[in-house]
């Protein structure tokens, strides 16, 4: 077994799910209507649950306690894609949140499609605990994909304003999209049997028909020159540091407490 790649991959998976789950949870009480509060809370719970599973697999490999891995690691050790750490919009949860639903739906759908493809690949991983987890998680993530696709279509075909704001959200998310596909420290091989180029082609093949259906221009391959930091190599924005500060605040008050 390529132990180093398994560990690197588990950090990417765990950190992606935890960070996006935290951003989802920040919609609680602020989503467009109460049904969406329920939906985003449920999605956040799913994602954090998946992160817990991946952190526990890291703990099984001797990386430390799952809770410590989740709450105590500094930003430079995190391996989530930068797309997922971006705030939901201007302001903060407690101070004048001007969160952006168009951006949220675009970011969410782009990640869901990537995650489905990644889980399909992982189902064929040579590392059995990861392959088994992927089969199970994929069945759950399917509902996220259905939900965010439905919203994407609804915003794109709703009013002039909803369409404009979705298009703006797509444009804002796009420079970060390439970062999802960075292999980071994962070496190509049986642990993760697909190349970044193959993932990208499958992602385009899944999304492009939806753009065509709703009449949104396909933005094309993101410009590598304008690319955002590579989160899979520990390069992050100040937004992640702020997120980790908030997320770990209670845990750090008593790291040995049983919750």
């Amino acid at each position: 077994m390529d132990r180093a790649s398994v560990i690197a991959l588990l950090y990417q998976l765990a950190d992606d799910e935890l960070v996006v789950g935290h951003r989802d949870s920040e919609w609680l009480g602020l989503a467009p209507h109460i049904e969406e509060d329920v939906a985003f809370s449920s999605i956040a719970q799913d994602e954090v649950g998946h992160a817990t599973l991946f952190y526990n697999l890291l703990a099984d490999l001797g990386e430390g306690r799952a809770d410590d891995l989740a709450f105590l690691r500094p930003a430079a050790l995190r391996r989530n894609a930068v797309l997922l750490e971006r705030p939901n919009g201007p302001g903060s949860y407690l101070d004048q949140p001007q969160f952006d639903w168009g951006y949220t739906i675009a970011r969410r759908l782009f990640y869901d499609v990537f995650d489905q493809i990644r889980l399909e690949v992982l189902a064929g991983s040579s590392y059995a605990p990861l392959a088994q987890a992927a089969v199970k998680i994929r069945r759950e993530e399917r509902y996220h994909l259905i939900h965010h696709t439905t919203w994407f279509r609804r915003l794109a075909t709703g009013t002039d304003e909803s369409r404009r704001r979705l298009a703006e959200g797509v444009a804002r998310a796009w420079p970060d999209v390439g970062g999802l596909f960075s292999p980071g420290e994962v070496e190509p091989g049986p642990v993760f049997p697909a190349t970044p180029a193959e993932l990208w082609d499958r992602w385009v093949a899944a999304l492009q028909p939806l753009f065509a259906e709703v009449g949104l221009a396909w933005p094309g391959r993101p410009d590598p020159e304008g690319a955002s930091p590579d989160g899979r190599r520990g390069q992050h924005t100040a937004d992640l540091a702020e997120l980790l500060e908030t997320m770990g605040e209670v845990y750090r008050t008593a790291p040995n407490a049983a919750w």
Binding site: E35, V38, A39, S41, S42, I43, Q45, D46, E47, V48, G49, H50, T52, L53, V113, Q116, E120, Q132, A133, V135, K136, I137, R138, R139, E140, R142, Y143, L145, I146, H147, T149, T150, R153, A206, L207, P209, L210, E213
Partner: protein
């Protein structure tokens, strides 16, 4: 001590979020292993409905307590396994009936239909985005009406969606096909 006695005891362990339904009804118990030499030790393998289900630790505790109360049991081990993955097809006919009596529509049985990506279609196949359609709604568990529609794909727990019955004019929950 027999394996059948252990299964009978497990039928007393309720789902903490749906009390009329046991973990056996839900098909969560994958396997029971007894070590026969000397004092009996029991290993129970449980396949979680959802990976992030917050009720799992409660279920672990309840299983350990119920089996620990059986005569001649020296130890109980509860393990969560993902292989096989839990699917809604594992719910027993009795479990489906008990869900309905509790006001939760049981999940539709999955059937492979690659041309459709409705939420009730085969959950192991990722949907093509352009084929995602409004979700089919199950019959109302209260009045049996088929005049129902989806209110929210997400509900009060990870495994449920919320529907509305236009027949008896009330909302109801449905267990998802997973």
């Amino acid at each position: 001590m027999t394996e059948a006695a252990v299964w009978a005891a497990l039928a007393d362990v309720r789902d903490p979020e749906i009390p009329p339904v046991s973990i056996v009804d839900l098909g969560m118990v994958y396997r029971v292993v007894l070590t026969a030499a000397g004092a009996v030790r029991i290993r129970v393998e449980i396949t979680p409905t959802y990976v992030g289900c917050p009720a799992l630790e409660i279920i672990r505790r309840d299983v350990a307590a119920r089996l620990g109360a059986l005569e001649g049991v020296a130890g109980v081990e509860v393990a969560f396994v993902l292989d096989p993955p839990w699917t809604s097809d594992r719910i027993t006919p009795e479990g489906r009936e008990r869900l309905r009596s509790f006001g939760i529509a049981p999940p539709s049985c999955s059937r492979a239909s690659p041309s459709s990506a409705r939420a009730g279609a085969d959950p192991s196949v990722p949907p093509s985005l352009t084929l995602i359609l409004p979700t089919e709604a199950p019959p109302c568990p209260y009045c049996g009406s088929l005049d129902t529609h989806l209110e929210n794909l997400f509900g009060p727990t990870a495994c449920r969606s919320i529907y509305y019955c236009d027949g008896c004019r009330q909302p109801f929950e449905g267990m998802r096909s997973v």
